[in-house]
Symmetry: C2
Subunit: 102 residues, 2 copies
C-alpha cells in the first residue's frame, strides 16, 4: 500500500493553508483579521494563501460591513471541508504508521 | 493558547520531507532507491529534499557499497527524530481541535 505522504496535497498541506482550513472548520466563517491574528500572519501572507485556496475552490470570500467597518469573511466550501477531511485522514494514517500501529 | 498550526515547522512539515522522516522512523536507515520508490519521487526531487534535511541536521547520509553496488544510506539523526515527534504532536493537536475534542 502506498505511503500516506503520497496522498497529501500541497494546496491543503502547506502549513498556513492547513491552519486556515483548520480554523474555518472550527469557526465556519471567520473575519480576515481574526484569521490573521489566530495564525499570527501578516496581511500579505494571509491574502496570498487565501487566494490560493479560493482559486482551488476550497474557500469562499465575501466582503461586507459590520456596522461601518468593512469586513472580509472567509468560509470553507464543501470542497474545502472534504479536502481537509482527506488531509487529516492521511495524516492520521501517517501518524499511526510512525507509531507502529497498522 | 496558540493554534497548533503555528508550531509546524516548514522544514519538517513540507509533504516530501515529512514523508522521508516518517519512512526513516519506520526503517531506521533507508537506501536512497528505497526512499525514492516508497515516496514515488524523482531522483532529483528526493536529493533536493534530503539536502534540506541534512543541512538542518535532521538526517545523515552515508555512502557505501552493498557488494559491488554503490549505495546511499539515509538515516534520521536524534534531532530529526525529535523534530518529527514535535511535528506529529502539533498535528495530533490540530486534528483534535478540528474534531472538536479539546
Amino acid at each position: 500500500m502506498s505511503h500516506p505522504a503520497l496522498r497529501l496535497d500541497d494546496v491543503v498541506h502547506q502549513r498556513v493553508r492547513l491552519g486556515i482550513l483548520a480554523v474555518l472548520a472550527e469557526a465556519k466563517r471567520a473575519d480576515f483579521g481574526y484569521l490573521r491574528d489566530a495564525l499570527d500572519l501578516s496581511d500579505g501572507n494571509l491574502s496570498r494563501h487565501i487566494q490560493v485556496l479560493e482559486e482551488a475552490g476550497l474557500v469562499s470570500v465575501e466582503k461586507g460591513y459590520e456596522g461601518r467597518r468593512p469586513r472580509t469573511w472567509v468560509s470553507a466550501t464543501k470542497r474545502g471541508r472534504t479536502a481537509l477531511d482527506a488531509e487529516l485522514g492521511s495524516l492520521r494514517e501517517l501518524i499511526s504508521r510512525v507509531d507502529g500501529k497498522p
